[in-house]
Amino acid sequence: MFKKLVVLFTMFMIFATLSPAFPAAVKNSAGRTLPPDAAPLEYQVLRIMSQSATTLDWFISVYKRTNDANNYFGEPLVRLNKNFELVPAAAKSWRVSKDGLTWTFILDKNIYWTDGTPLTAEDFIFSFQLAADPKHGWDFAWFYSPIKNWDKAVRGEVSPSEIGIKQGNDPYTLIITTEYPAPYLPMMMLYSTPLSKKAYQKYGPYYNNDPKTSVSCGPYVLEEWTKDKQIVFRINKNYGGRVKPYLEKIIVTFGDPGASAFKSYLAGEIDICGYSNSQIFTPADLEVIEKDPELSKQFHQGFGDFRTFYLGFDCYNPPFNNPKVRQAFAYAIDKESIVNTIIRKQGITAYGFLMPGFPGANPDGLKNIYTYNPDTAKKLLAEAGYPNGKGFPSLDMWVRSDLASPTVVAVANAVGAMLKKNLGIDVKITVKETKTFMDTLNAHKLQFYLVSYGMDYLDQSNMLGIWASTGRHAWKNDRFDKLVEEASSLIDKKKRDEMFKEAEKILVEDVGGIFLWHQTPGVLWKPYVKGRDLEPDKYGITALHWPGIEGVGTTVFSIYISKDVLKYRK
């Protein structure tokens, strides 16, 4: 009897191993077991499109990187999951001192560069010091202002080696000190993907542009970079970090996302479309999507980068230095109808600067400050000395060219028409080339404009901070400045939230800007692209969550290609 059982069991095992009904678990090159419904390994390739790039490294240039499709071969201190929660990355843990001024990050000892060197505090210190050095001419040098001596270093007043980033007791302890308590510092450390000190010193700033000199400590390595054509990332077999990916390769084709991505997606050449700001769908694209039931199912809308579009003024000079004029404008614009008729699917009405879902957003509290009311608008303008718009200068509304999609230009025209109809003011619309626009805005010389801002990290200090009088807008309110400055460095979350709430209310009441809509961008992905991060988040929203498929998020590492791909790819 026992013998028979042994024979039966052996036969069953042989059968089970050979039978396709019991497939053995497939592991990819990095040793991660693929989900049961995953397509064979050779299909585990994600194809996306991005703008051509000068570098892939954050600390070399922020604006000349590929849009949102980089940092796969670096390991930031922290990453962000789809619920916008920080998760450990190069730092396995972090803590803050009692006074809130000193942050200690404990680095993961399992992470090595592909040249065999361990990733240590030295690489982070090197990268930050480089960024703080005015000689490096880094294009995001304003960003790390809370770090001790940062501002002084970028102004050239102290040496970059004096900034508050130091090694702790051992090479795996990184200590960051700040000028004032900055509870959002770990959030800022999303942007900390380091350069390899060794490779930089040996090959120069662009060592990552060539597979021969490129060095990775992240989930992928650089396999190919053909200028103006494509970049190919290959899975890093020796990756020791926490986000071991499923995908064997990521192919980033270069193309103008606005001009080519949707067409390439329809032709089956790329798998995801619309993940970056420059890939907003035009009204015509949306119509194509809405009419096609298959495409409609592939279309998902999310928070994007919590971007708010708004009208701004030069509040330092007439006529907008008179708050009544700005209030008249706020009453004269019917935001709801703009959103319902022009923006439609791509956004929601904005009542403040912070989009619902963003920490501290307060749409209900701000909703009724200015509601559309042409009569009140007229009255206020008359009180300001311009009855029926008489004597009011004709305006030239600038729209920044990189944001001037057909939808945004349509909104600008609608606003112009409303101001003419309700206040008798003539408004000309000018789409202004980005650099000219920003040069004028930053110089506080722009009279009237339509622009947007998307967040860098999820904290009120980031979004509201740009409205401080030291920022880009020609609007100043002492109480606002004080509130934002103080709240930014508060550790008491409740009090902090209250102060930010008050600040945002001042911004809306004093009409620093007129907030029109929050963008809820859509993204298309093919039915065979699956993964944990593409399933609903804690708000029930299924979308590509910021930062999209960039390596500082966790999304790209949760994505795999399912067997359905066999129906689509040849």
């Binding site: 000689k135 001419g137 304003w142 200028k227 193309g255 050449e269």
Partner: protein, 306 residues
């Protein structure tokens, strides 16, 4: 003749110097610079270092003289968009792509245009003539980027025969060339037709026919030659036009050619690239016109250089 050519070359050099000067000074007069301040203003010290790095902290005339001096030594600088190569190596990398597409387009548009033009002239006022005229009118009126979108919709999205863009395989040629092709082909067709009809009405044709020459000989030996001479005038300007590419076509089809750099260089305030591209165009146009004029003198005995 040699004196004439020398005078023209001298003129060309002056034109190039003037073009570089205008480009250089205009470029620096435009707001913005080779730095990005998309979100927030950059600290002054950082901006100053960037300007210093590119030598922009010096007086503008000094910058210009430095530029010309370096350019005379073959150093056109480093493009801001691609700092791992020089302006010359970038142009050497991307220009051949545009030239290849341009050459194929010129060859095809002339072959097809001449053929259709002749057919249209010989079969004047028949359905064939009307059809060709309709296509030619469409070709001259519909811009090439609209044609490009139609082609992508039909061949890439509906039929899935051809890629929507890219570069490196022969099939990547087809759609860009087709988009470029229609307009010049249409113009050549119309031009050839008109010239042909004009020649057909001339006395020597009547004489040839009266002598009893077969129609084939009349058309191909006599009319053909005379009708085609003016086409050289058309070939001239087409060369620099196609040799510098089109931003619309190259961006639409993701062709890594020179065309898109005219646009991206201006947007990025990539000063070394902007001046280099303007010089390139000036040289191309100058040389093309010079060669056209010389060829003319050889073909048309009525032209004499003084």
């Amino acid at each position: 003749m040699l004196g004439y050519i020398l005078r023209r070359v001298l003129g060309l050099i002056i034109v190039i110097l003037l073009a570089s000067m205008i480009a250089f000074f205009l470029m620096h007069a435009v707001p913005g610079g080779p730095f990005d301040e998309l979100k927030m203003p950059l600290p002054e010290a950082v901006k100053k270092e960037i300007l210093k790095k590119y030598g922009f902290d010096k007086p503008i005339w000094e910058q210009y003289l430095n530029y010309i001096w370096n350019a005379l030594h073959g150093d056109f600088g480093v493009p801001f968009q691609s700092p791992t190569e020089t302006v010359l190596s970038l142009i050497a990398r991307v220009w051949p792509v545009t030239l290849q597409i341009g050459a194929v387009t010129i060859f095809l548009s002339f072959s097809i245009g001449i053929l259709l033009g002749i057919i249209s002239a010989l079969k004047q006022n028949t359905w064939l003539d009307y059809l060709i005229t309709t296509i030619a009118t469409l070709g001259t009126t519909v811009p090439n980027f609209v044609i490009a979108i139609w082609l992508i919709l039909f061949f890439s999205i509906t039929l899935r025969w051809l890629p929507t863009g890219g570069w490196g395989e022969p099939r990547h040629f087809i759609l860009p060339v087709m988009s470029y092709l229609l307009a010049p082909t249409a113009v050549i067709t119309r031009f050839v037709k008109v010239n042909f009809l004009e020649e057909l009405r001339k006395d020597y044709v009547r004489t040839a026919r009266a002598k009893g020459l077969p129609e084939k000989t009349v058309i191909f030996r006599h009319v053909f030659k005379n009708a085609l001479v003016p086409i050289i005038t058309m070939l001239g300007p087409m060369i620099p036009d196609l040799a510098t590419g089109s931003i619309f076509i190259e961006v639409t089809f993701r062709v890594p050619g020179l065309g898109k750099f005219f646009y991206t260089s201006a947007l990025n305030r990539d000063y070394p690239m902007i001046v280099a591209m303007i010089l390139l165009i000036a040289v191309l146009w100058g040389i093309t016109y010079l060669i056209t004029d010389i060829i003319y003198a050889y073909i048309d005995p009525r032209i004499v250089f003084t």
